[in-house]
Symmetry: C2
Subunit: 196 residues, 2 copies
Amino acid sequence: MAAGRPRNFDMDQALDQALRVFWEKGYEGASLPDLTEAMGINRPSLYAAFGNKEELFRKALDRYETGPTAFVARALEEPTARQVADRLLKEGINMVTHPDHPGGCLAVQGALVCGDDAQPIREELERRRKAGEVVIRKRFQRAKAEGDLPADVEPNDLARYVTTVMRGLAVQAAGGATRKELLRVAELAMQAWPSK
Amino acid sequence: MAAGRPRNFDMDQALDQALRVFWEKGYEGASLPDLTEAMGINRPSLYAAFGNKEELFRKALDRYETGPTAFVARALEEPTARQVADRLLKEGINMVTHPDHPGGCLAVQGALVCGDDAQPIREELERRRKAGEVVIRKRFQRAKAEGDLPADVEPNDLARYVTTVMRGLAVQAAGGATRKELLRVAELAMQAWPSK
DNA sequence: GGCATATTGTATCAGTAGGTACAAAATTAA
DNA sequence: TTAATTTTGTACCTACTGATACAATATGCC
């Protein structure tokens, strides 16, 4: 089979740059010139390689989930529910305030609300946020089955609590809060943990 | 003084509609046609009465703060810090899930991140969020001076904690969480309150 | 009524949004 | 070397963005 002219950019590197732009400006706020400049490619190359803006965002989002947010899966492996929650908060803070990439969380600030055109993206992000909540809930359900949580505690509520705090932390980080400030918040948030 | 042709719309009513659109779609996501249609006026009337899109947003934001978010000032009047926090969370939830207006919080979803043009708005919202945090902090500082909080507790941290949870609740509400779900979260969040 | 003033509606502006046509360039297969 | 294939770069498209010029209209004051 024939080969054709080779592309002179790395797809993953370009995607990382697109991710950075979407993260920093949101889906709507990221313009095609913003993206092509950061990715170091021109418009037709972007469309040939990634489809369109919406598909590019989805691919950047996939990369976001296998990269920066991989800490969630790791945190779930902690032995107790309490340790899971503690690590989710701490590593979450580490992520949303990490100096190597934009502050905050793409799943929150990518398109929390938006115009009509971007609604599919808003819904996609909402779906993924929901999915993140579900894996945490399942982990806490398991914890309860293992006797690791009091009988009168709803894993559902606990998962929603941790998730809600994490999203609040993400908003704070997007606004410039420091890691140190947010770690104090996490410490307080963990005071709510049942049966200390 | 002469009068000229009277405007045939109510400024406050129009502003309320603009507020609704910005709340629902964010600053960038709200287009001029979105705004004029909701406000029931045409473009030149909008510009004559409110300046431009940015000024309109600022005026809608002022109205937001004297209307939907007025619960904050009321909550601060509660006798104890604990009651203040509890009421902030509960009334905050009531607000961000109220059926009479869009879900979530304008100060969070109006422009958490955005493109270059909207940066002034993003910064304005960040300023106002910060100001909201400050009034809560001051209330907790007073509480501490009054012996209403343990000596080893930082009012600063407590204010940031409450604020962070409220913002998390706002994100959840923007994503469609119900009032009932969020009240369970608030209940858990209050478990963290010092010296029960 | 006539004048000054202010708002309305239409029609339009320049700039930018996302997206693409098309030819030149760079590769592999034959 | 030639043919087939794929990417690149330029130039461009349509639609929509926020914003206005201007004439028509509606008021209060004299």
